[in-house]
Symmetry: C2
Subunit: 431 residues, 2 copies
């Protein structure tokens, strides 16, 4: 595919439909809930050429909802609405939508059956007032919600599609994944769109950006490069759209390989859109290795990341979380002398923790962490944010010291991600 | 305070000023960045009677920004704008604002001095083009930003205040805390406002709503009740505003106690706005108890929740995460016979896991979990979503079986929250 003449290469626009996101809920306005739904939806829409051109948030107020609908409905192809569909009295979106479209309600038997099934499964009586929840606007197509009692609703009037979903993130995600994305693809057919995603761990956005500056500047306009930063990781995504899938994929692969060649190998975790913990699991499975952890300051977050992957029991055996020094000594066999001379937050301690985990939990590789997660508890010698990580097997142990800030949550997550990535590199380089 | 005659009780409106939040940035629309600023600002505003009545997000597009400003500026008392103030080429908010108010730019010497100081401190040369960053719209009052190079701007024209701040969260927070909140309080003096928040765990929103239906219907209009649901938990918040703080707090306490009395005691975790894991920590500290965990299917998430609380090392000793049966047997002392006869996911196994954790980690109380987190791995006998929880001390062990769905992430979180709440109740009832 090398040497495709890009000037005669008729790429289509990546933009296939414009989308406005309307999120409803007093809890959003008063700041009690952070809106993660909008970002999730925007990312899902990109895979089918949907571009979010604006977002609006209003409270549980019929007039505000109706005003917001009126002001956006003619400006975009699709309006995605979340929130205000549950059983309590502030949930008024359904009524506003029926009024907005000038239609009445019909009883939706399937919704009634679904809700009954959910309550049956949990062995609970169906609450009163559940019939009201099954009344749906006449012109709505009902979208199943397997994770909750309020289904999604699909409206298609006057050339604008409107989809209403519950605000609970995993319910919205279920309806998006199982109905909305497919239906939007049918409704707004587009040229095929292709993406390539590279997951990097270990450098921030601005340093990555410096490394690939020339590549980015030389990219033709019809290829989009997106930076998707997270804690201690950046995903880089190339996107393109074209009628001829073979041609398009060949061209995209060429550019993607060029991108990969510009970054140091140790930064690259995966050349597909998977999380670090999944990439780590695939590697350990492929090499037939087993893993255990001995966590102090990360307090179980590394174990949680690993076990969030289905099937992780094939390579992950378990962990000793040694929050107290007694457990470090009694379970992991860290020497009292080591703790006295070097302290719990030290290279020597995490090395001995690795040794303890290996012999106790009988795995090929073990990870250990110890540090001051914060926000308090630091000393001049060992300030808040100092975290030691060790990775090793019976033959060798590698250690690494992080110097982070005062944010406990961020420190725990950052150290866990770095530790997992070190374990991945250790397995890759030594087996 | 019982028997206050509410009909002659001159409550003021909770609302002191209406606020619209306008967030600017392509990174928000495409879902690269989750908007946490809006929630932070809304929470800060509540303390001074500011009520966010709507939020809009637009991209880095002068027309979209100007349109959004025009459509909200006359509807509210205050518009808070974040984003689009940095040195990069998409940062256009300042120009849009000058045009919006029909004013020119003036050089702001203080900003120039501040920026110079920041670069001096980091020992870096002041970049070119910094003078442009010091040009400010003529009618703006400049608000110092100690954490970055772009200051905030305060406009007060035609009875609406508009504040523009950078989108970087800790810079916005600095300007809000050090300038905006104080200036808004001076500009819109208000009556005091009070809130009471109740955290419940164990029932969903609709069942809670049924339990307090009468109370909710009888609430006078000047008291606001908000439902704030999460996974397996619901927060209930009452809000009120009045000139007389003592009277107001007395009346609110009366209503809050009424609300509490309507819910079964085991559902009520805390009568302040704190998370479950903090409430648990306070209880264990207060009673001088220690806790350990033995997690199988929850894979470290319980440990992570507990250790996300600063100072948790005072009562939490650690965990044995026994993902494999070998660790259940070798570390936790679960009998081979038990695993053979009842399986790893059984009441007997979690009971023995509690025993193992108690003797190994030497704590007063231990939590154990074992289940099929999903999405696969179930059998007709033990379907996906079946999770056993045990809590106990040396004298007694309580067990509980959950029947959840196929969603691994949700199952892990749900089971962890229920397990923590069981531990809280166990400590409360037995010590």
């Amino acid at each position: 595919m090398k040497g495709v003449n890009i000037t005669t290469f008729p790429f289509t626009d990546l933009l296939n439909m414009t989308v406005h996101i309307l999120t409803i809920g007093d809890e959003l306005l008063i700041g009690q809930v952070i809106d993660t739904n909008s970002a999730t939806m925007a990312q899902m829409l990109q895979t089918i050429g949907g571009q979010v051109t604006g977002r609006t948030t209003v409270g549980d107020d019929p007039i505000a909802i109706a005003d917001a609908l009126k002001s956006v409905i003619q400006k975009v192809d699709v309006v995605l609405v979340t929130g205000g569909l549950g059983p309590t009295k502030d949930d008024i979106t359904k009524k506003v939508l029926a009024k907005f479209y000038g239609v009445g309600f019909v009883f939706h038997q399937k919704t009634h059956d679904w809700i009954n099934k959910i309550f049956e499964r949990f062995g609970r009586p169906v609450p009163e007032g559940i019939r009201d929840q099954c009344l749906m606007p006449q012109n709505a197509t009902i979208l199943r919600n397997k994770r909750g009692t309020a289904p999604g609703m699909w409206f298609d009037e006057n050339e604008t599609v409107l989809v209403s979903m519950p605000g609970v993130p995993h319910e919205m995600e279920y309806i998006m994944e199982n109905s909305v994305i497919r239906k939007l693809q049918e409704r707004f057919p587009s040229s095929p769109i292709a993406h390539r995603t590279l997951l990097t761990v270990g450098e921030g956005e601005s340093r990555i950006s410096n490394m690939i500056k020339g590549f980015e500047e030389s990219l033709p306009e019809f290829i989009k490069l997106a930076y998707l930063p997270g804690i201690s990781r950046v995903r880089l995504r190339l996107s393109i759209s074209h009628e001829d899938e073979i041609l398009m994929n060949g061209f995209l692969d060429e550019k993607f390989n060029e991108l990969k060649s510009l970054l140091p190998a140790h930064l690259i975790v995966a050349d597909k859109d998977i999380p670090l913990e999944v990439a780590l699991g695939q590697l350990f499975k492929q090499k037939g290795l087993t893993l255990s952890t001995a966590e102090s300051c990360t307090g179980g977050y590394i174990a949680h990341m690993i076990t969030s992957v289905p099937g992780s029991s094939a390579y992950y055996m378990g962990s000793i979380i040694s929050y107290s020094n007694e457990i470090k000594m009694n379970q992991l066999g860290v020497k009292e002398k080591t703790l006295k001379e070097h302290g719990a937050v030290s290279e020597q301690t995490v090395k001995e923790m690795v040794g303890g985990a290996l012999s106790l939990l009988k795995t090929d590789i073990a990870i250990a962490t110890s540090g001051i997660a914060g926000p308090d508890g630091g000393t001049p010698d060992k300030p808040v944010g100092m975290i030691w990580i060790a990775i090793g097997n019976k033959k060798q142990v590698e250690t690494f010291k992080l110097r982070l800030g005062n944010d406990r949550t961020r420190n725990i997550q950052y150290a866990s991600i770095r530790a997992l990535n070190m374990a991945r590199l250790f397995a890759q380089n030594n087996y």
